[in-house]
């Protein structure tokens, strides 16, 4: 029997959980926001202790331009995994899109400190480079 997801609502095998999350991201890449949101909501209900579906929800909201809701989702992921750098990096991303570079910098710094060699640190550094290249300059002006 395959490994089960810990603290899941019902017994969920790890490959099944991975498949569900993959499906959510595929819907997201296809632009099917509602379907992606449904999948991630379902996975969040199945795995209430996991921050991964909340990060997926945040990605859906960013794709739709709803950056405030995205930030809420990433904050929820952060509460579930306070020692993880990835939710902090994503929160910084949402703050950049909201035209709040100073707060975003704090999140990126926290992400780099929590996860310097991991995904959170890499994403934070990549977003920092993009910010310095002026990609988000228009967002700051609009604000």
């Amino acid at each position: 029997m395959a490994e089960l997801i810990r603290n899941s609502l019902v017994p969920v095998e790890r490959p099944q959980a991975m498949l569900l999350l993959e499906a959510g991201y595929v819907w997201l890449d296809m632009g099917k926001w509602d379907k992606a949101r449904d999948v991630f909501s379902g996975v969040a209900a199945l795995m209430p202790k996991s921050e991964v579906p909340h990060i997926g929800m945040g990605s859906v909201e960013i794709a739709q331009g709803r950056f405030d809701k995205a930030l809420q989702a990433f904050r929820a992921a952060q509460r579930l995994a306070p020692r993880a750098g990835l939710p902090r990096a994503h929160a910084g991303e949402a703050l950049l899109f909201m035209g709040k570079p100073n707060e975003a910098m704090k999140e990126f710094k926290a992400a780099c400190e929590l996860d310097p060699e991991g995904d959170g640190g890499k994403l934070a550094r990549a977003l920092l480079e993009a910010k310095e290249a002026g990609v988000f300059a228009d967002r700051e002006k609009k604000r």
């Binding site: 997201l28 795995m47 991964v52 994403l123 480079e129 993009a130 290249a133 002026g134």
Partner: protein, 184 residues
């Protein structure tokens, strides 16, 4: 009593003025037609290779598509969909197409369209406007070189922005893959 010797009344033509019926094949008209065709080709964005232009004139064009993604929805969609870096940039302005022809002159051909330029290899049009000082040609070249430099700087900046956005999209993709793989 009239002092006119000839009492015949002055002849006044009542014919309406009509357009030229025969084609105008004068030199000036041919030059004008050529300039109009060149300007139209440039404006339509047709790909003109430098080697195809008589006299080896160099044509440079810069297209900025950043303005295509100005809306927040569009930005988020392209940003998340991992599409090519070009479309993922929060745009700032409407798309611009700039074309410059070094060595070109403007406004020296009688009847030329405003902004029309000459292509290298065509008869010099400076001679058509006698009395222009020689410095104007040098100034024009200097202005064009400045605009070329600015164009190059803009392209470098855009290239850097595209590279960084592509890197972000790649990192996001790798992050998602690792996160799903490590779910527990």
């Amino acid at each position: 009593m009239s002092n006119r010797i000839n009492m015949t009344p002055a002849r006044i033509s009542t014919n309406l003025t009509i357009g030229r019926q025969t084609p105008d094949n004068s030199f000036g008209q041919k030059v004008k037609t050529g300039l109009e065709n060149t300007a139209n080709a440039l404006a339509s964005g047709a790909s003109v290779l430098a080697s195809a232009v008589p006299g080896g004139a160099v044509l440079s064009a810069a297209v900025s598509s950043m303005g295509n993604m100005t809306s927040s929805q569009g930005v988020g969609a392209a940003y998340s969909m991992g599409s090519a870096g070009v479309t993922a940039l929060p745009g700032a302005t409407t798309p611009m197409i700039n074309t410059t022809l070094p060595g070109a002159t403007s406004g020296a051909v009688p009847g030329a369209l405003p902004g029309a330029t000459t292509v290298g290899g065509l008869p010099s049009v400076q001679g058509a406007a006698p009395g222009l000082p020689g410095q104007s040609n040098m100034q024009t070249m200097a202005d064009q070189m400045n605009s070329m430099l600015q164009l190059q700087m803009q392209m470098n900046q855009e290239n850097q922005a595209f590279t960084t956005v592509s890197n972000v999209l790649k990192v996001r993709h790798d992050t998602v893959k690792n996160t799903i793989s490590n779910v527990h």
